[in-house]
C-alpha cells in the first residue's frame, strides 16, 4: 500500500528523523538531512499511535490473549506472570515502574535503536519490505534479529529476571 503511495515502508527511519529534528545534524553527519522530506513517515507514526488508541478504546473486546501454555509456564518459572493482557503489567504498568525496569527498557531501546540503524532497518524494513523484494542482505539481517532474540530469551533472561 505504501509502495503505491510512492514510499518504501520502514519504521525505524523515524528514529533518525526525530534525531535530525532535534538538531543532531549539526554534530553528527548521519542526521544532517532535511527531515521535512520524511514527514510522510512521521505522519504514519502518528497514525500508528492513534491506531493503538483506537484499538484499545473502541475495538477492545476484552478477551484475554490466548498464549501457549508452555510459554506461560516458562515465564512463570522466571517470575513473570501472565495476566491475559498484551504486555506484562509488572514490566510496563506505571505503578510498578522500578529502577530495574527503567534501566532494562532504556537499555533494550538503546539496542533496538543502535541495531536498527547499524543494520539499516528493523522488522518492517528488512523482514517485511526486504524479504518481499527477495533481498539477500535483508535475509542476513533477519537471521541476525533471530540470533539476538534467541540469545536474549534463552541465555540472558534467566540472568536478568
Amino acid at each position: 500500500m505504501l509502495l503505491f503511495f510512492g514510499k518504501t515502508f520502514g519504521f525505524s527511519s523515524n528514529l533518525s528523523t526525530i534525531c535530525s529534528m532535534a538538531g543532531a545534524g549539526k554534530k553528527v553527519s548521519l542526521f544532517d538531512f532535511d527531515w521535512r522530506t520524511q514527514k510522510w513517515n512521521l505522519l504514519f507514526l502518528l497514525g500508528a499511535i492513534a491506531g493503538g488508541f483506537i484499538s484499545n478504546t473502541w475495538l477492545n473486546n476484552n478477551e484475554p490473549l490466548k498464549l501457549a501454555g508452555t510459554t506461560i509456564a516458562d515465564l512463570k518459572a522466571i517470575g513473570i506472570q501472565f495476566d491475559g493482557q498484551l504486555e506484562p503489567g509488572q514490566l510496563f504498568d506505571l505503578q510498578y515502574l522500578s529502577l530495574k525496569n527503567i534501566i532494562l527498557m532504556l537499555f533494550g531501546g538503546l539496542m533496538i535503536g543502535f541495531g536498527s540503524r547499524y543494520a539499516g532497518g528493523c522488522t518492517s524494513g528488512h523482514a517485511i519490505s526486504g524479504l518481499s523484494n527477495l533481498q539477500i542482505p535483508s535475509l542476513v539481517a533477519v537471521i541476525g534479529f533471530f540470533a539476538g532474540g534467541l540469545i536474549m530469551t534463552h541465555f540472558l533472561f534467566p540472568l536478568i529476571f
Partner: protein
C-alpha cells in the same frame, strides 16, 4: 491534505498490529521459544503478500499514485553490518518485546512506560550516528 493518506495508513497499521497481537511482549516471547505458530503466521503472511505485490508491481509495471514507476532501493551488499546490527537489534527486541513500530502503537494503546523504550531507541540511533565510522560494516 496530501498527508491524510499516510495518517490513515498508520491508523490501519496500528489497529492491525494490536488486533493480530504482534505488539505483545508475550507473543514475542512465545515466538522466540518456538511455542506457537502465531507470530510466524503473521510475518509469513505479510511476506507472502509482499512478495506477490512486488512481483505484480514489477511484472505489470504498475505506477504509483503520482504516476511514477515504483522502485524499491536495493540494499548494499556488504553483510557484516546486517549481521552485527541485526544481532544487537534482536537482543533489544526480545528484551522489550517491541520493535520500532509497535513501541509507538503501545504508547497509543496506553502503555505510557513504552516511552522509555522510545527514548532509549533515540539514544541508540544517535549513538550509532556518533560512532559508525569506527564500526565494521
Amino acid at each position: 491534505m496530501k498527508g491524510v493518506k499516510f495518517i490513515l495508513a498508520g491508523i490501519i497499521f496500528g489497529i492491525v498490529m494490536v488486533k493480530s497481537e504482534a505488539v505483545s511482549w508475550f507473543r514475542i516471547q512465545e515466538m522466540f521459544r518456538f511455542q506457537s505458530f502465531h507470530m510466524y503466521g503473521i510475518i509469513g503472511t505479510a511476506v507472502l503478500l509482499g512478495v506477490i505485490a512486488v512481483f505484480l508491481i514489477k511484472k505489470l509495471q504498475i505506477r504509483d499514485i503520482n504516476g511514477l514507476p515504483i522502485t524499491i532501493p536495493a540494499k548494499d551488499k556488504r553483510w557484516t553490518k546486517y549481521a552485527l546490527g541485526g544481532l544487537v537489534f534482536g537482543l533489544g527486541w526480545a528484551l522489550t518485546g517491541a520493535c520500532p513500530g509497535p513501541m509507538f502503537v503501545n504508547i497509543g494503546y496506553g502503555y505510557i512506560a513504552m516511552a522509555i523504550v522510545v527514548f532509549g531507541a533515540l539514544l541508540g540511533t544517535y549513538l550509532y550516528g556518533l560512532i559508525r565510522h569506527k564500526l565494521p560494516h
